[in-house]
Symmetry: C2
Subunit: 426 residues, 2 copies
């Protein structure tokens, strides 16, 4: 075989089998988003570098973004995240939109990272944001949208949990421990690294960011305190709202959740597999207050999250979530072509059946019937129709049930009902 | 107001209102594609430059593509068309796939061109291809898929037509006119330019590509011959199949259709608005035989088309095709929040209603009822629910019909039916 031109590293080909799973997830995402009244929107996939320079993390912009100069000399970025675009769109129409906005989106993003299990360079992301209201109830709704998606695709709280913290609570605690304001971001980064380092390495790192042994010990106590949320009026209200929304079993307080992105200001959350082998967060989100003003709008509080499809894909595969029937052809009915002379009869029948609401493939040339049945079998089809010379002369059709192998011949008028009966039985 | 960071030239923002129309078109595309048994697939949005160098037109690769070097030094292209990726995917699994393949796709593409009415730099495209069978009936099916989309979205043959020709027919005619083989591609390009030039300029151009006045006259006779298709056995069979498939009213023979792309070999077609002001083809397609071998696979015949969403968008707007109700919120039911004390009751009710299958927004904070009703009105919602102190004490709910302004109070148990009745009446 000749060498086939290879794909770009870190991208994925979606053959129909993979695409069906992707579409199934998109439809679940749509159903859940819309059940809470969120409206779908989409930004351009190309944005200017300036848009991200404002607030996205330095690592994201300087090391992980695809940036290039176009033929006209403009600096273009393949979007690495959606929130700056969201801020731009809202700022552009700030006086016309009906707040609170509930917006969701599903589309492609790019980050130049080393591809590995659970990470590609081109990926899809579900974004959910509520904009223009600052309340713990709004935070709780957004987290519940996420929990509803887990429930919808068949993930239980035994498999995934959403871990919630609040930046203001952490900040107040760090103040009590005696860490000055300017050093707190570095300390939060240090806390965020805890799971990735050995105990010794982590404590050494803590001393490097200027903490005393006593402060390290107090921080460890804080991180072990599962009741710490009771000291945050915001989180108390948040968890009451979570209870009211009915999916509290998916949601836990965790004082060690920090989130990397610089723009979060209040409640923050991440979702993780419980005790499994997928050591990568499924998603993250939180409340952010300053993003609109960073792109040129007036300040407006917002809460949202972004879930990539790659780690979610690992979970779907591991727990066998996608239904088996996704592998079959979207058309379960094949009209065969008996011979060259009867191809138009077959095409006409197929067109009639489509008008009656069925999805139908007509074999596109004359070929041995055995070959056509084999095609139907490989495509997971359930019904094959034959119009041979006998059927044509009598105005009848032969229907073959491909699931149980039975077949019978009947008048044209009864064909649609007979097909529907076979399809309904599966 | 501060300066808002602008979008990239030639890209589009999809606010919920535009996104709803885009999704409506995508759903029509899906329904039509699946009714013929086509399977959805998708390629990466980034491909190597090599993939296009093989066969895409020179103008497309050298002048219109977004090409850049990534952080690892690879030459990356934002895909300007899908067919080379299709050839790559099929070549990769040529021995495993069940032919004939019927594949469709819907996704973003980029071309660096001057943005104007009907043209953006970032656009969406619907691709439909049948691969592995070479028959006029297959060509007819693919053209009918397209006609079915026009019918589905509400475009009639008074508004749009699909014009069909065959490259082999044109080639045979040019041979009869005495044009040597090596000069025929240039002559086809000349024919393709006819509508864009004055008669004089076009004839001068014809002499420049080496035609005698007699050959120009004979070509003009050929281009006026509406019965020319009868000389092509392929087109005779094609039009019989088109009749059998039932949408012949959308499809006409037109001997002047050439198609620009270098890879077409047989039947070619374009769709155009009829006598309107949109002077840009809605789409193009045809049969191509060599693309798989160009990317490293074994030769395989295929037929397909690509329809961009921008010209289609002009038609949809001009003829008012998208349904009016697309502008409303996906949730037509608002649960209001009477006051701070009752917010959890409202959230609980909203969660219950969602579990019963309704799309429901709960107002995310306490606010004046008037403000909440105004929000519902601006979002095009139809029902608002109120739980005030009286309702809470009596275990009842007040339902406000936002369409006719009526309202009534009833037991919790009757709420879902009452809501469904109001929604069904619209």
């Amino acid at each position: 075989m000749k060498n086939i031109i290879p794909p770009v590293k870190g991208t994925r080909d979606f053959y129909p089998e993979q695409m069906a799973i992707r579409t199934w997830l998109y439809e679940a995402v749509r159903a859940v988003s819309e059940s809470f009244g969120y409206q779908e929107w989409e930004a351009p996939l190309l944005e200017t570098l300036d848009l991200y320079a404002a607030k996205s993390g330095e690592e994201l912009v300087k090391e992980q973004s695809y940036v290039f100069t176009d033929r006209g000399g403009d600096m273009i970025t393949l979007r690495p995240e959606l929130t700056p675009s969201l801020a731009r769109l809202v700022a552009q129409r700030q006086n016309e939109l009906s707040f609170p906005l509930r917006w969701w989106s599903w589309g492609p993003f790019w980050r130049y990272e080393r591809p590995q299990r659970g990470r590609t360079r081109e990926f899809l992301q579900w974004n959910v944001d509520m904009i223009g209201v600052d309340s713990p109830e709004a935070d709780a709704e957004v987290v519940t949208v996420l929990a509803s998606l887990f429930q919808k695709v068949g993930l239980t709280p035994r498999e995934v949990l959403i871990l919630v913290n609040n930046r203001r609570l952490t900040d107040a605690q760090l103040e009590m421990i005696g860490i000055p304001k300017e050093r707190r971001p570095a300390v939060m980064t240090w806390i965020d690294r805890r799971d990735k380092l050995t105990v010794d390495a982590w404590e050494t790192y803590g001393r490097e960011v200027g903490l005393s042994d006593e402060q390290i010990a107090k921080t460890k106590t804080m991180l072990a305190d599962q009741d710490l949320w009771k000291q945050s009026e915001e989180l108390v209200q948040f968890f009451k709202a979570i209870e009211a929304l009915g999916l509290a079993q998916y949601i836990r307080f965790d004082p060690s959740i920090m989130r990397g992105l610089a723009y979060y200001t209040g409640t923050v959350f991440e979702a993780w597999e419980v005790g499994g082998d997928i050591k990568r967060s499924i998603l993250g989100g939180g409340r952010y207050d300053n993003l609109l003003s960073d792109v040129g709008g007036s300040p407006l509080s917002a809460v949202g999250f972004a879930m990539g499809d790659v780690v979610m894909g690992l979970l779907m595969e591991k727990y066998g979530l996608a239904p088996k029937e996704l592998k079959a052809s979207p058309a379960l009915v094949l009209v065969t072509v008996f011979d060259k002379e009867r191809i138009l009869d077959s095409m006409r029948l197929a067109a009639d059946l489509r008008r009656e609401g069925l999805n139908v493939i007509c074999y596109p040339e004359s070929a041995k019937l055995q070959k056509q049945f084999k095609f139907a079998d490989r495509m997971g089809m359930q019904v094959a129709l034959v119009i041979g010379p006998d059927e044509a002369a009598a105005g009848k059709i032969t229907i073959k049930n491909l699931v149980d192998g039975s077949q019978f011949t009947l008048e044209r008028a009864g064909v649609v009902d007979a097909i529907k009966k076979i399809l309904a039985a599966q």
